[in-house]
Symmetry: C2
Subunit: 197 residues, 2 copies
Amino acid sequence: MTTSTAGTRRRDAAATRRLLLAAARRRFAADGYTATTVRDIATDAGVNVALINRYFTSKEGLFEACLTGVGDELGRTVAQDMPLERIPLDIAARLAGPDAGEYRIQLLLLLRSSGDERAERIRADILRTFADRLATATGWRPGVAGAGERMLRAQITLASAMGITLLRSSTLEPLASAGQEELTGPLRDLFTALLRP
Amino acid sequence: MTTSTAGTRRRDAAATRRLLLAAARRRFAADGYTATTVRDIATDAGVNVALINRYFTSKEGLFEACLTGVGDELGRTVAQDMPLERIPLDIAARLAGPDAGEYRIQLLLLLRSSGDERAERIRADILRTFADRLATATGWRPGVAGAGERMLRAQITLASAMGITLLRSSTLEPLASAGQEELTGPLRDLFTALLRP
DNA sequence: ACGCTATGTAAACGATTGCTGACTTGCCCA
DNA sequence: TGGGCAAGTCAGCAATCGTTTACATAGCGT
């Protein structure tokens, strides 16, 4: 570990970029965009403040980088050619499973707004493709009969997942500390009721 | 209308207090706590900035006043001795009915955080009583068998409603512009699946 | 009618914000 | 091994934040 106590860290642009991104994601997700200061992020990452502007141009740029990062990760993992009956289990795992902390950050980031127009578009794109995949898993196709309500139901499902994430992070008990096994039942009921083909 | 174009408004402490509260609710709900400036609120209300501190002590005090106001209004109207089968219809009306604008502000305010400890407690109290009422409508009682899961399901229902509100305000189509009649069906499915006694 | 108080106004305070420029210093390659 | 450039540091800028203070005035009670 070169970054142990004392001593200057080895110079590595890519590594500090990653450090900044990770710290920014945590802060933005937990506190929101405006409440997070660039000095907070830099301190968390153990990095000089000015490097944020060097590597990401601005605070807005850093936020956009966080969003596109989340988009990439969700794009690779979520509901990718997944049978409909596995989805409730998968989402329950994301909400309360072993890696729930990382997923919660991703979902919360999608609910944080910076006011910047470009960032808003990125966020909207991610949400839309997310919903599209969910809808496709339920048999949705662009022109088919009832496509409108199918898409609507997929988006309501997505909204429920995000609402649960949000209320879990507000320490509303017993929801906040409910484990994966307790969430799976209700979630299966919720999803089958909304997405049944 | 004494407040028409030009001319000083008639002096009325209670009235300007109301103006400030209304403007603050809209701003806090739409933009969040930190992103909202006291000058924004004062301009919206057509009132001098310093009066915020006179009537509400601080920006935090104004935010707390907004929250307790929402708590009072929701406390009087939501799920008050309501039969279980009416609840989906009622919530659909709140999400997309004629007064949806006002209700959306109230729900969004409950998701905005100021970081202030006292405000967080107020918010948590409102959410908890909200969930309690929902749970009670489904037959929940403090000691009865399965009380834990009943409360959990009520909170998940609440979370879904708030998630829908949140995604509707992010202009996610078709969810954002879905009317009351389109929302009622999916919501009834969702609620009966979660709250069936 | 007049004076006192509640109400509203204007200007500025110190603190904090995002960001920049000039600078040091570590590291790779010739 | 040393020159050159990328990587990191430091101090301070202008703008904006919430708040306060000193002042003006409308309106009510006598």
